[in-house]
Subunit: 182 residues, 2 copies
């Protein structure tokens, strides 16, 4: 749960970072930036700001803005009926991104999710993405990521996005953010 005031402040901050990063977007797109707190009510630690550019029949293009050390919680994109699940490439445009995927756990990972949620993070193989670096996930691959000291601006290119079907490791996560007056 976040307040409308918090939502608006996060949108403005995200829009400034997008501009600094060289992302070209129309005003109407920027006004619809999604501010997601994943129902955890601690946006600065667990959350992401999402600019949607393309949401077509078979492809989706979004730009994620992560504030400094903000974490998108661990999740995966499952098969749904005939749909084999989302194939997704994330590509760093600006800043630094700490990305975690299945594989040998990195001994001293840089990112630190909120301490009281750390048990809901199960994959610890680290990739550090700088501008121009990218990584492709096949469906059903758990992953999570955190912005660096200045945050990160990250493209996601994917097949059809059905966000509400994403499966999060943390049972407290609610994908749809509730916005309260205030």
């Amino acid at each position: 749960m976040i307040t409308r005031t918090e939502q608006e402040a996060a949108r403005e901050r995200a829009a400034e970072m997008l501009e600094r990063a060289g992302i070209v977007a129309r005003q109407v797109e920027l006004e619809q930036i999604e501010v997601a707190d994943f129902g955890l009510g601690e946006l600065d630690e667990s959350g992401v700001q999402i600019l949607t550019l393309v949401d077509a029949e078979r492809i989706a293009v979004k730009v994620l803005v992560l504030f400094p050390y903000q974490t998108e919680p661990e999740h995966k994109h499952p098969r749904i009926g005939d749909y084999p699940g989302k194939e997704e490439t994330i590509r760093c445009q600006w800043g630094e991104l700490y990305l975690y995927v299945p594989g040998e756990p990195t001994s001293q990972p840089i990112a630190f999710p909120a301490a009281h949620r750390r048990h809901t993070y199960t994959v610890w193989h680290e990739h550090i993405l700088h501008p121009g670096d990218q990584f492709t996930f096949q469906p059903n691959t758990p992953h999570w990521f955190q912005g660096g000291p200045e945050g990160a601006v990250v493209w996601t290119f994917s097949t059809k996005a059905i966000d509400v079907e994403d499966i999060f490791t943390d049972p407290d996560v609610r994908r749809k953010t509730v916005i309260m007056d205030g």
Copy 2:
């Protein structure tokens, strides 16, 4: 057919435009920019420079660079077996793009393909794309486009790209560019 020298010059010119447009790419990606003359041997009039960022199982992301008034010839993306054909969104990042699709022909279109090829352009419904503007094609939709006075830098987000299967209206087009020494 173009020479290796022409290819290299077009690559460098494209890389400069990409940088000016705020596209973030690694050196190894820039070195592989495809210079396509569509076999017509008149690159400045009919051609495109293509930076490939993602070429995954089910998605492709490329950035097209069009020099001033350079035209990508009319083509469409057909169904191939079980594959319903490429769904593609093009989005202008920089400059100005004149885009032509099926529909009511525009009475005074801005773009002008090379005069001796004009008969191979059959769709004349004009859209003018400025930075942040985009357009989505379903498979099998004929389309062509031309860069404006300063050229254009244009994203294409799509399902799997199988360029060699694209169908061009101009029977002289050869999708694979031949590079000659020199």
